[in-house]
């Protein structure tokens, strides 16, 4: 890792933007300006940033309710994001989506779903269309380790393998489904499981390392673009509680030690020089987005039934 390397700096900057955005959300949350559940990705930024940086702009991402990171990493507009969190007309979806359903189809982030695993087959469907049209685009499904327990994950893998569609399955393995550890939920190893479908797969343990994530994704995406699905499992760590803006170590269901070990390798905590160099301009960017949200009008009654088909 070369700290002054341009690539590293770009990835670091986007990761830091995600972290500072979410820290701003933590600050704002007690004010009730954001009246909706938030699922913070603090600790997991390197996955979103490394993965999205490896994609082409016209590749599509289908993500989850923990979507702030992927929204920003794929290039979503920050003003529209904060206005969406605020439930305002200036939001991506005029406030009807909120934190759990962020999207930015103009930059390739399709609708995020709050029902675990439910957007996985959407990526497969988009990939099916890409294949039929002969475009070289790929589609990416992002999901947590818990999602792999759902039936539709297995249906999606089977179909993707059968039809050889260009879909990249990215598992963000933070080891937790809400408050349940993976070992009480899973009888399988995800990489070996993918192999039973004949799908190439890989696990990356260094999920804090943006460059490693990016490289692993580049290699996987190359195979996908050539016409086969791929499962890439990336270890990561959720610092905050499942939903909400607080810590949850005091509840005793998990230990702080494992997260502390992760934090010791987290570049956003260790690379203080770059952090301080970039922080002021990012904070200005965030303040501008917050100000935009504050000034954006709330949707009125005329919006209540608009967009129901």
């Amino acid at each position: 890792m070369i700290p002054n390397d341009e690539l590293y700096r770009r990835l670091f900057r986007t990761s830091l933007l995600i972290r500072l955005v979410e820290e701003r959300i933590i600050d704002l949350y007690p004010s009730d300006r954001i009246q909706s559940p938030v699922h913070l990705s603090i600790g997991q930024e390197a996955v979103a940033v490394g993965v999205c940086d490896a994609l082409r702009p016209d590749d599509l991402v289908f993500a989850t309710y923990r979507s702030h990171g992927f929204y920003i990493a794929k290039g979503g507009n920050l003003d529209a994001m904060f206005a969406e969190l605020y439930g305002r007309m200036g939001g991506v979806s005029k406030g009807k989506a909120g934190s759990m359903h962020l999207s930015a189809p103009d930059v390739g982030l399709m609708g995020s779903s709050a029902v675990v695993a439910s957007s996985i087959p959407h990526a497969v469907g988009a990939a099916l269309s890409f294949k039929r049209r002969g475009t070289s685009q790929i589609a990416m499904a992002v999901f947590g380790d818990g999602a792999t327990e759902e039936g539709v994950y297995h249906e999606s893998l089977n179909f993707a393998a059968l039809m050889k569609v260009p879909v990249l399955f990215i598992c963000e393995d933070n080891g937790l489904a809400v408050h349940s550890y993976r070992h009480v939920r899973q009888s399988y190893n995800l990489v070996k499981h993918a192999a039973t479908f004949g799908i190439a797969s890989r696990r990356l343990d260094e999920g804090w390392d943006m460059l490693a994530v990016r490289q692993a994704t580049l290699e996987a995406a190359e195979r996908v673009r050539a016409g086969e699905p791929f499962v890439l499992e990336i270890a990561t760590a959720r610092y905050k509680e499942h939903v909400g803006v607080g810590d949850d170590f005091h509840f005793g269901y998990r230990g702080q030690k494992e997260i502390d070990e992760w934090k010791a390798r987290d570049p956003l905590l260790t690379d203080k020089t770059l952090l301080e160099a970039l922080r002021p301009e990012i904070e200005r960017e965030i303040e501008k987005a917050v100000a935009f949200a504050e000034s954006s009008p709330a949707p009125g009654r005329s919006e209540l039934l608009t967009d129901v088909i």
Binding site: S93, M110, P121, G125, R132
Partner: protein
């Protein structure tokens, strides 16, 4: 059995089975919409979804008509993903009951995609489901989930009752309608022949008058429209009663003004649905009329639907589980002439009798 079409016959007519109408509209849908494709279990096999997709795989190739693993939720999610990037998917369920496995995608995703994302994305698609009835379909091959689907804003739910309804409506849906459509087809209708006309005024994606009358309004769905038509013919011949039949046709977007205007004219109402009455179409018809004018009816309405139980397989029970032709005629006569109408009921019991030469398999 030929059931005469319901519209005024000025245009040239031809005879077309329900399955034939489906095959014709599927074929035209693929021909006219290069982005359309059909997927579902068995769509490319020799039975072709009861003849509604036969030979289309050969004609359009495996990229546009293809078989799937058993994966109802995955299939529907794949359809959503394909629709989001501009394709028009058509999915099939040979029994409506199997669509329950896809409910997460239909209800939580497809129905909400437009609204939940503020109108910046839509997932237009056609989900075809087939309701089974008779020959021991039992509890899990017979359900008719129109009110289930129509309960959720964002879905368009239609129940074509004739070949005419299919040839008129499907071209308005495939590649045209901006959102997800669930079409609830009825297996009993598939092998029936209908007269079809090339009308300049196609059946819309809402309710229409299938038979005009002055004495009683019958609001019906799917195969019950045919039951009602036959009953109307019977009471016309035996008692001079003119029943007005409204094919509700769209369960999600009915024409309530049309229904209310008819009931205002007749003052009497029979509701004939293919599913359970509780929290169903019958309940919604009553709610809509009550909201408009609680004084519209001269007598409490009659309601025909499935008995309040899962569907039994035994024929002796199945025969009394569904509303019979007896009951339909009796309900109409009772509305107009009272319970002591004294008019003999027909000998033929129901559509299943008209279908009696059929011996399966389904």
């Amino acid at each position: 059995m030929t059931v005469t079409a319901t519209k005024s016959q000025t245009a040239p007519t031809r005879v077309l089975s329900y399955a034939g109408a489906l095959l014709e509209t599927m074929d035209a849908g693929l021909a006219n919409n290069p982005n359309a494709f059909i997927m579902g279990q068995g769509v490319d096999d020799f039975k072709g979804i009861f003849g509604s997709t036969t030979d289309l795989a050969r004609k359009y190739g495996p990229k546009r008509v293809f078989d799937l693993p058993l994966m109802e939720e995955g299939m529907t999610g794949i359809a959503i993903g394909a629709a989001l990037v501009g394709d028009y998917p058509i999915t099939t369920h040979i029994r409506a009951d199997f669509a329950f496995l896809a409910m997460n995608q239909i209800i939580n995703l497809a129905s909400k995609y437009s609204y939940m994302f503020g109108g910046i994305m839509t997932c237009p698609m056609l989900i075809r489901v087939v309701v089974g009835r008779s020959w021991g379909q039992g509890a899990q091959h017979s359900q008719s989930p129109q009110s289930t689907f129509a309960h959720y804003p964002g879905l368009t739910v239609v129940m074509p009752s004739t070949s005419q309804a299919i040839v008129d409506m499907y071209p308005q849906i495939i590649g045209r309608h901006p959102g997800p459509v669930v079409s609830i087809e009825h297996r009993l209708l598939y092998n029936l022949d209908f007269s079809v006309s090339a009308s300049s005024k196609p059946i819309p994606l809402t309710s229409y008058v299938a038979r005009e009358g002055r004495d009683v309004t019958v609001v019906a769905t799917s195969v019950m429209v045919l039951e009602a038509m036959r009953a109307a013919q019977y009471v016309h011949e035996t008692a001079g009663i003119e029943a007005e039949i409204i094919d509700l046709n769209s369960i999600s977007h009915p024409d309530w003004d049309l229904v209310a205007a008819s009931v205002r004219k007749t003052g009497r109402l029979v509701i004939a649905d293919t599913s359970w009455l509780e929290y169903g179409v019958a309940a919604e018809v009553c709610r809509q009329l009550m909201l408009r004018d609680p004084g519209l009816l001269k007598a409490p309405p009659a309601m025909l639907g499935m008995a309040s139980a899962p569907c039994p397989t035994a024929k002796s029970l199945e025969d009394i589980y569904y509303p019979s032709q007896h009951e339909t005629v009796d309900a109409i006569l009772t509305q107009v002439k009272g319970a002591r109408h004294g008019i003999a009921l027909p000998t033929e019991k129901s559509m299943t009798e008209g279908y009696k030469r059929f011996r399966g398999p389904f």
